[in-house]
């Protein structure tokens, strides 16, 4: 695009209008908007009605599948923090606060994903049955290490799925969760004393060096299998 083309876009209302139309229009449903406003908002029907009539039904289906996959992982994370806090195993106040805050954040991810799935006409999966008791019995160190592992998996899962997301609003939403999972992962890795590089792909604060690697859905689901009942 040349300077003059940009200027035209900026100066000429009709070309601007054309452009917005191309982008789906100002009134197009924004899944990202749904995500950000997701705390108990009950305008699902309205959002669905506003959905632009695109020919991207296949993309929609694929995106819904990815969103439900993400939802399963977020359910898992939320439940883990819930059980950790309820167990009283974390005595240190600063660490307990981190667990509480991270847990609350994961719950927000769950709520937002459910809203988004509904707004796109999909059906949110239900929460998986979890099996964290063996981890909790092992003590604090195992608990924090598991939290770190699960967060690293979460970050890798979003990164692995991002390229397959068709809807740009859904992509934007997924990315805004992805970097939060990465923050959690790095903080927990640091908290359990893992170095930058770590031993394996999920172990360090900066496990892959300068470039994070995504994981496939199959690999992620295999890795969380021990936590599923």
């Amino acid at each position: 695009m040349t300077d003059s083309a940009l200027r035209e876009l900026a100066d000429d209302p009709s070309s601007r209008k054309r452009f917005f139309k191309m982008m789906g229009g100002a009134g197009a449903v924004s899944a990202f908007g749904v995500l950000l406003a997701a705390c108990g908002d009950d305008d699902d029907k309205k959002s669905t009605a506003d959905k632009p009539a695109t020919s991207k039904d296949d993309g929609n289906k694929g995106d819904l599948k990815i969103l439900n996959y993400a939802l399963t992982l977020e359910y898992l994370e939320t439940e883990f923090y819930k059980q950790v806090i309820a167990s009283g195993i974390v005595k240190d106040k600063a660490t307990a606060n981190i667990a509480k805050q991270f847990g609350a954040t994961e719950q927000q991810h769950v709520d937002a994903l459910i809203s988004t799935i509904k707004s796109m006409g999909g059906k949110p999966v239900s929460a998986p049955k979890t099996k964290f008791e063996p981890t909790l019995e092992k003590g604090l160190k195992a608990v924090l290490e598991t939290a770190a592992t699960v967060e690293n998996l979460g970050a890798a899962a979003y990164l692995g799925a991002a390229g397959s997301i068709k809807n740009k609003d859904v992509l934007a939403a997924a990315l805004s969760i992805h970097s939060v999972e990465a923050r959690h992962a790095a903080a927990l890795n640091a908290l359990v004393g893992r170095g930058f590089g770590g031993k394996g792909g999920l172990e360090g604060s900066l496990p892959d060096g300068a470039f994070a690697k995504g994981m496939s859905e199959a690999d992620v689901l295999a890795a969380v299998k021990p936590f599923l009942a």
Partner: protein, 212 residues
């Protein structure tokens, strides 16, 4: 500060050395911003640019400018800042190396797509190196801004490969941000959703570091 009327002329006066493409993008944004309000202008220009490989090149050059800034910030920090603990210095060096790799990778990708990588901007970090606290605070601002910049630009990327590369970088920026925040005894992940930022917002944030 809220008025876009004020924002536009202020930014128009900035001359960014060595970043012709960046300057072009900013000016283009300004042209639109003056007409439609700075906040509304950038997204659609960025989106317009992102409709093809050329758009990806522009986004990559935008990212490259930010990475140059970060790499230089930490490089000078390692040499100048006093009062960091051993662990903190180790972290800063690790981050510096990551940012340098990001610069290399982004420049290589721009070239691979047939574009011309922007040059390193002339930078001045002011009083950031005065002490440990000011250094870590600026690092915090830059890393959080980096995350928001990538999160804002990534959905506009056309190529799945370029998107994957950007995703692999933003995750590292997020990890940096968390670790720097921990060093400052700040919450590592203050928000449930990291906000995407427009190019305008990021330019405003980094403007104080660009030498005119």
């Amino acid at each position: 500060m809220a008025s876009s009327q004020l924002v536009a002329p202020e930014l128009a006066a900035i001359e960014i050395k060595g970043t012709t493409r960046e300057a072009f993008l900013i000016r283009a944004t300004l042209a639109a911003g003056a007409t439609y309000g700075a906040m509304s202008a950038t997204p659609f220009i960025t989106r317009a640019l992102a409709q093809d490989a050329k758009g990806d090149i522009d986004i990559l050059n935008y990212a490259l400018t930010l990475e140059y800034l970060e790499a230089e910030f930490y490089t000078r920090g390692v040499a100048q800042v006093k009062g960091l603990s051993g662990e903190e210095m180790k972290l800063v060096k690790e981050i510096r190396d990551n940012e340098k790799e990001h610069v290399k990778a982004l420049a290589a990708t721009v070239e691979k797509l047939g574009g011309k990588p922007v040059k390193k901007p002339s930078l001045d970090f002011g009083g950031a190196y005065a002490n440990r606290a000011s250094f870590l605070m600026t690092a915090n601002v830059l890393e959080d801004a980096g995350v928001s910049a990538y999160n804002g630009a990534a959905p506009l990327i056309d190529s799945v490969d370029v998107l994957g590369a950007a995703g692999g970088i933003v995750q590292i920026e997020a990890r940096h941000a968390a670790l720097i925040r921990l060093a400052r005894s700040k919450p590592p992940a203050p928000l449930a959703f990291d906000k995407p930022a427009t190019m305008d917002a990021i330019v405003k944030k980094i403007t104080p570091f660009l030498k005119s």
